[in-house]
Subunit: 156 residues, 2 copies
Amino acid sequence: MTSAAAEPPWLNDAEMRTWRAYLRAVNLIDRRLNEGLKTAADLAIEDYEVLVHLSETPERRLRMSDLSQRLVHSQSRLTQRVDRLAKRGYVSREKCPEDRRGTFACLTDEGFAALQATAPHHVRDVREALIDLVGTDEHEIVADVFERIIERLRQD
Amino acid sequence: MTSAAAEPPWLNDAEMRTWRAYLRAVNLIDRRLNEGLKTAADLAIEDYEVLVHLSETPERRLRMSDLSQRLVHSQSRLTQRVDRLAKRGYVSREKCPEDRRGTFACLTDEGFAALQATAPHHVRDVREALIDLVGTDEHEIVADVFERIIERLRQD
DNA sequence: TAATAATCATTCAACCTTGAACTATCTGGC
DNA sequence: GCCAGATAGTTCAAGGTTGAATGATTATTA
């Protein structure tokens, strides 16, 4: 996709349209989902995503660094987010025996229950704000584009 | 796109793929663009976007409330962001004579110069992180999807 | 036209993120 | 085995965001 030669410096009309729409839509989606989770469960979307990632793991736990990479959060940001979720009883910490520098964030039963209780509201919001606005035939293209981006930016 | 009947409650595989890729890609893009602007001009992307929106206006100024809507920022967030940009000399304030409750945020010459100096770096980053990863034939679809979303979420 | 409601912008306190500094542990080369 | 350097995670201070409260002005309506 990216040629070796220099790309044109500015964006053409089609590119600018994509970029502007992207910027605005992402902000609107973020605001909407945050409002929804705040009302339904007094959670930020980042909190919710922590619970989701933990719940999708067989042991319902993840190493802090692993989790921070998945969420694209800095380590200190995750440390403090997990602190707050732990204070609420949704997450607990376990020392990692194999690597004693390491810590697991573990989803508690209470955290799992909160996630299950909140999920239907959140999924409805996700549908309304994004998924139901992508046509059946468009999903693959959109997912392709985003996965290309992830592949490109992942390493850093 | 949204039917009157109830949507299926959970996401199917294609929908989930879109959603997960979206979440991760957006965070990676945001991180990348912020890093780029921070190094190039010690600006956050929100600062940059303030300058862009002001510069695109004939008078190079916008009412605070107008600007906060375009950026999808709360009013208090914008107030404080403009405070900081004003402290740096990139933006100034003018009282609005027609509606004396109102205030204009005005792009200064210095702010415009900073924008011009930074734009090439930022555009390169935008290309690398998003635009060049969307195929020529994909731009219209992606833009369509995001504009649909904007239309849906705009009013709130 | 006075009263009520709505809008524009700012302020303040509580909360959250950032990034650098720090502790503890592990890894690889000698 | 030992040391330099990498890695995991936390802490702290500085700065940014949120949301409710406030002050000032404009719109509505009885």
